[in-house]
Symmetry: C3
Subunit: 151 residues, 3 copies
């Protein structure tokens, strides 16, 4: 089994995959932080320790919370496919430099996307970083299907 | 490493996994298309180039956008588990014909599901295609657990 | 290919990964059950067989449906990263007892989380079970990156 982890492309994939997944995981504590500081909760049991008259007001949406949640959702829609397709792409035995290019551009694009989203940077910063990540996913998918097509 | 990709079941899994992930990825540009053509955006920075009096009206939900988003969400809930469980199922060494049956039915059911959702086809077309995909996921899960159970 | 499935850590990972994914998959039929029993649907075609005057009332949100959906979403945000990072963690060849500890704590925390969410148990039961699962994901990520770092 250790054979896979001796391969340089596999090590590179593993590194970048874990980095982007950790980035995605961090969106959850960030959502919790905004829920607490902005006072915007989704469940009645979450506000049970507050005085009764305050509770109803705290069960609401807040723009800052919704923004982090949209960013998190966009991560789910893009980072998970990257890891899934990236793993299969890695197993097709691509050239190290080409593979690294895919992984680095993707990781960079998602970090830019998160910054653009959380700080509400002017468009098209967020749109571009999203498109770049999507193109990496399509490029890896195309490479996999053109190497291994078994219908 | 190239050993895995010489296996026929693994090649078949890779092919169908990438096809359904690409189908899922395409829902994102489709959402963007509906947001732009229907004029329904989620972020203030997305409407910053519009005249000030129009901006507020464009920050809204539109039924067509919400429909694509629900379809995308359903893909996340079903296609990602297919790739995760399907990979482990493939590694248990199933018979090629049985594995192909699982992969083909799943891919077919998700394509039917998307068509039924986007074109609002009468029920139970969407419900049935969703259930078929779910049953494939349960069948693969059962096969994996009955082959490899290590608690 | 069958080599991977002879490894004890890989068998343990496979078992726990499929268990938590099946748990996640079950949230979808549960949502369907609540939609039907509570009469709260999202699509016009889903209520087409009802009498015309009832239809509009059935296209609504219901707190029970929204609760299951939030629980499902939390699963997507935590269980999928567990399977992705857990697979790479398993491939780094960890000690069996350490790996089992990670897998068992994670599976236990997610089952507690689901119970706490669906039965609206008093906080911090849900928050704690969520944090425990998150810490397992971070611990596995740290282990992978400290073993395999190839930037």
């Amino acid at each position: 089994m250790a054979k896979l982890m001796e391969d340089e492309v596999f090590k590179a994939f593993t590194t970048y995959a874990v980095i982007v997944v950790v980035k995605m995981l961090l969106m959850a504590p960030l959502t919790a932080f905004y829920r607490i500081t902005r006072g915007a909760f989704a469940n009645e049991e979450d506000v049970a320790i507050k005085p009764a008259e305050e509770r109803k007001k705290l069960l609401r949406n807040h723009p800052d919370v919704e923004r982090v949640r949209r960013c998190h959702q966009n991560d789910l829609e893009n980072i998970i496919p990257f890891v899934l397709v990236g793993l299969l792409y890695t197993l097709t035995g691509p050239v190290l430099s080409t593979a690294l290019l895919h992984f680095r551009i993707f990781a960079g694009s998602r970090i830019c996307h998160t910054i653009a989203y959380l700080f509400s940077l002017p468009q098209p910063s967020r749109a571009l970083s999203w498109v770049v990540g999507l193109l990496v996913n399509f490029s890896m998918s195309y490479n996999v299907l053109s190497t291994v097509l078994y219908l």
